[in-house]
């Protein structure tokens, strides 16, 4: 009898405890909702997210039209999620939880072996356009440089470091970039093919099992490292009959050890460690670097101001410029190069300057007049190199500006 009473008493204690739990839960969450709401309203709004490297949404402007078509409401939604308090921490929390539950791919980024974060590859949708633009550049050139146009398509980490991808990943063992590269090369027989894949792959294979590994690609960024660019530079030299400089001729400097690149930003996992950026400088070079848009002239291929920012890769060639004129008085030839490129090439320029007295570097996303007419107006141009990486070539709007 007594025992039964105890049980009854305790059943109600348990029930009471459970509903006490609900009260605490709902009240705490209510308070958090209110805190976040007020926090959002009073917190100063950033205009730019360094971490994501993009402009954040602006406070929407009310117009009757935007209300009527609903775009006003969409803008509010965007504005709220872009400026939500401790947004980055929330992103980290989400990524961490997903990795914990066994996710090996998040936001199209593979969590690969050896600490590499590698961008997945989706097959290009505008091969035709790319081929067309490169072909047009060739056709439009009327000077002797026409006979010396070469194309280097650089595979990204997803191809070169394919064996680091998690097992059964859709890109594992399926080197789609190589097929795309072949398609483009074969469609342009008049342009000299510079294949850096074999060199990069051989390097990657030789590193296997070795402790002292130099990375060819950054762990947290979509770019190749300076060393990766050096390997490709040797391939370029081989194809062009140039004698490449040995690695030992360069002074290597670790300029930062806290680089977290664009791939990192897609995950925003703040527990991923920062990594090194190493630059290779030839002390013999006498450089004049002329940024034609800002009319700034320096003697360095680097802008170290970027090292104190998030976007540290931009230190190479001072980020993006429509046209840069680089002169090296100590180059081993008088040849003049036009380089049409994306940001990958910024890492290879420090090697190329050793063999070209002058290099004109075009970023066609920003250069509006077409490199072909520039080349035709400058008959002293002897070589043209087109250099793109395989991941951005398809999405790069600048492709339309090559002709």
């Amino acid at each position: 009898m007594q025992n039964k009473d105890i049980n009854k008493y305790d059943a109600s204690f348990t029930a009471g405890m459970m509903s006490f739990g609900s009260v605490i839960t709902v009240m705490m969450i209510t308070i958090m909702i209110l805190i976040f709401g007020v926090w959002f309203l009073i917190a100063p709004k950033k205009e730019f997210s360094e971490n994501e490297n993009r402009q954040l949404a602006l406070a929407p402007v009310y117009t009757f039209q935007s209300l009527k078509d609903g775009s006003y409401m969409t803008s509010i939604q965007k504005y709220l999620s872009d400026h939500f308090p401790i947004r980055d921490e929330f992103m980290t929390f989400k990524t961490k939880t997903e990795i914990l539950t066994g996710k090996e791919e998040i936001n199209d980024i593979y969590i690969a072996h050896d600490g590499y974060l590698i961008e997945a590859y989706s097959e290009p949708k505008q091969n035709g356009k790319i081929i067309n633009q490169f072909g047009k550049l060739y056709q439009d050139i009327t000077t002797d440089a026409k006979n010396n146009i070469s194309l280097m398509l650089v595979p990204t980490a997803v191809t070169v470091y394919n064996d680091k991808l998690p097992a059964a990943a859709p890109d594992k063992g399926d080197l789609k970039q190589l097929a795309t590269m072949d398609t483009i090369y074969e469609a342009l027989p008049e342009i000299k093919r510079i294949d850096c894949y074999q060199g990069l792959l051989a390097q990657a294979q030789s590193e296997k099992g070795s402790d002292n590994v130099s990375s060819l690609y950054y762990h947290t960024d979509h770019h190749w490292t300076t060393f990766g660019a050096y390997i490709a530079y040797r391939q370029y030299c081989e194809a062009m009959g140039i004698t490449p400089l040995e690695e030992s001729s360069f002074t290597k400097t670790v300029v930062t050890n806290s680089f977290r690149g664009t791939v990192y930003s897609k995950l925003n996992d703040t527990t991923v460690p920062g990594e090194e950026i190493t630059i290779y400088e030839n002390p013999e070079n006498r450089l004049t670097v002329n940024y034609q848009d800002s009319e700034e002239v320096t003697d360095s291929l680097y802008n170290k101001d970027y090292l104190s920012k998030k976007d540290k890769y931009s230190m190479f060639l001072n980020n993006l410029h429509p046209l840069i004129e680089i002169t090296n008085e100590t180059a081993d030839s008088d040849k003049v190069m036009v380089l049409v490129k994306d940001s990958y090439a910024n890492s290879i320029v420090p090697f190329l300057v050793n063999h070209y007295r002058k290099i004109y570097v075009f970023d066609t996303r920003y250069y509006r007049f077409g490199p072909a007419s520039f080349i035709n107006e400058h008959p002293e141009v002897t070589d043209v190199l087109i250099l793109y990486n395989m991941n951005t070539i398809d999405t790069d709007l600048g492709i339309g500006g090559i002709f």
């Binding site: 459970m18 909702i33 939604q77």
Partner: protein, 483 residues
């Protein structure tokens, strides 16, 4: 505005509740109405007029019907007017283009479709407002004399755009007098949070796996296999269930916070043991609506087997059609109508004698295939996907992608399957028994306290995770918006 979004969760809802709780009772319905109209206008700034028109017409006809007293002829006239107006509006906005395209296809004509967008939630609020005039005609509810109260009922934001289909009779009395208390806030809040977590953490995440698998089925390379296609179908089933039932959870929870008691809309439908059982558990407010306002008025099962079969066919044809203006929805409805009839008259009794596990598998097979019919409104895509599922697609049985999907989502899928069964109530019951079985008073109390602390921690952790997903804002559709 969707419930699972930052504007709603952090601004709209708190602001609405604060104002609602602060004002005196007489004003509460007006606060609720104002917020509901803003809520609707957020997604449909123009078509809000349509809702105002429908409610005004039914409100007026209701008053007239009431005035007509015992004049059955007049009452019938007003009811007919109400039904015709409501169904015409629904028919025009939802089905006109479907009709035009079907006529074009059948007769080779070239009538230009009207290209009208479907007003959000029109299928839901039309059925709600119809329930009022029909019940009034049957003298089952009292007439509503305050137009704004009536509009509050139809437009109330928790259930306005994706159900449950709350009948006027359910909230009639509470519209005028209801208890708004702390207990309701806590119970409703807990229910709302459960729905929010289900929607964001299960429906959206499992849904994105379905999107990947679906895309691979049409990509033309070797990305799909038979087993992946089944996995995809299971994912869509789970997505739809969590999406829709989470919406109902949130609606019921918010209703409770506002002092309303809505009826349940789902009762673990994926744990059904037969098709009949499934439809007693899935979207209950819709199937009972059709039962009470179509099936029974048609005579139900009282006029012989043949008439019953006819009535079932009509009801299930309409149920299918209600879900969307496309042939696959009609096919889906008829698919269920036929299976229900067969279950009733052929194998229902035999089915009950099978082991429970086989009954579950039987029901599962049917609803998974059913939802594939449901999801493809393009018939050739539907055929393509079904071919793959049933081994006619010329694809391998398994492939590497299947392994990849499982490796990446195993925990999520297990969780998704487990939560779809009544495991949580069972576990809660077991735990209570277990705690009370312990020896020594202190020990029970300690375990009870430990348990509630764990519960609090789990909710708060899930709340942060949900917020993280909302801030990251990747994939957040609400499937039943289309209906």
């Amino acid at each position: 505005m969707v419930f699972s979004s930052i504007p709603f969760l952090f601004f709209f809802l708190p602001l609405c509740l604060i104002l609602y709780y602060l004002v005196p009772f007489k004003v509460k319905n007006y606060v609720l109405l104002a917020f509901s109209l803003v809520f609707y206008a957020w997604g449909e700034p123009i078509y809000i007029l349509l809702m105002l028109f429908e409610t005004l017409s039914d409100y007026t006809l209701g008053r007239l019907m009431h005035k007509a007293g015992n004049n059955t002829g007049l009452r019938r006239l007003f009811l007919a007017l109400s039904v015709i107006i409501d169904l015409s509006v629904l028919g025009f906005f939802k089905y006109a283009d479907f009709l035009i395209e079907s006529v074009n296809a059948a007769f080779g004509t070239a009538i230009t479709p009207l290209g009208l967008g479907l007003p959000i939630g029109i299928s839901f609020f039309t059925f709600q407002t119809m329930s009022y005039t029909i019940d009034l005609y049957k003298k089952e509810v009292a007439v509503e004399k305050n137009y704004f109260y009536y509009l509050t009922y139809v437009s109330m934001f928790p259930q306005l755009i994706a159900g449950p289909i709350v009948r006027f009779s359910t909230v009639n009395e509470e519209l005028h007098d209801r208890k708004i208390d702390f207990e309701g806030f806590i119970t409703g809040g807990t229910r709302f949070l459960k729905g929010l977590f289900k929607k964001v953490l299960l429906a959206n995440t499992i849904g994105s796996l379905w999107e990947i698998i679906k895309a691979s089925a049409f990509a033309g390379d070797s990305g799909i296999s038979v087993a992946s296609a089944w996995l995809g179908a299971l994912c869509f089933t789970l997505q739809l269930y969590y999406d829709f039932s989470a919406y109902s959870d949130m609606a019921i929870g918010m209703g409770r916070m506002l002092g309303f008691h809505y009826l349940e809309n789902f009762n673990y439908p994926l744990s059904s043991v037969s098709v009949t059982d499934f439809w007693r558990r899935w979207h209950i407010s819709l199937s009972t609506w059709f039962r009470d306002y179509v099936y029974i008025p048609l005579g139900g099962n009282r006029k012989g087997t043949l008439m019953q079969l006819r009535n079932m066919f009509i009801v299930w044809f309409l149920t299918g059609l209600w879900h969307g203006a496309a042939w696959n929805f009609i096919l889906w409805g008829v698919f269920y109508g036929v299976l229900l009839a067969l279950e009733k008259h052929l194998w229902g009794d035999a089915l009950k004698k099978l082991p429970k596990l086989l009954q579950h598998l039987y029901a599962m097979f049917i609803y998974v295939v059913g939802f594939i019919i449901f999801v493809f409104d393009d018939m050739s895509q539907l055929k393509h996907y079904l071919d793959i599922m049933f081994g006619l697609g010329g694809v391998p049985f398994v492939n590497a992608n299947l392994l990849w999907y499982l490796r990446n989502n195993l925990l999520l899928l297990i969780l998704g399957c487990v939560v779809a069964f009544p495991v949580y109530p069972w576990l809660k019951g077991r735990l209570a028994v277990w705690i009370n079985k312990g020896t020594g008073l202190m020990r029970y109390k300690a375990s009870a306290v430990a348990l509630s602390v764990m519960l609090i921690a789990a909710y708060i952790g899930l709340f942060f995770l949900t917020t993280a997903y909302l801030v990251n804002d990747t994939y957040n559709p609400f499937l039943y918006f289309r209906f």
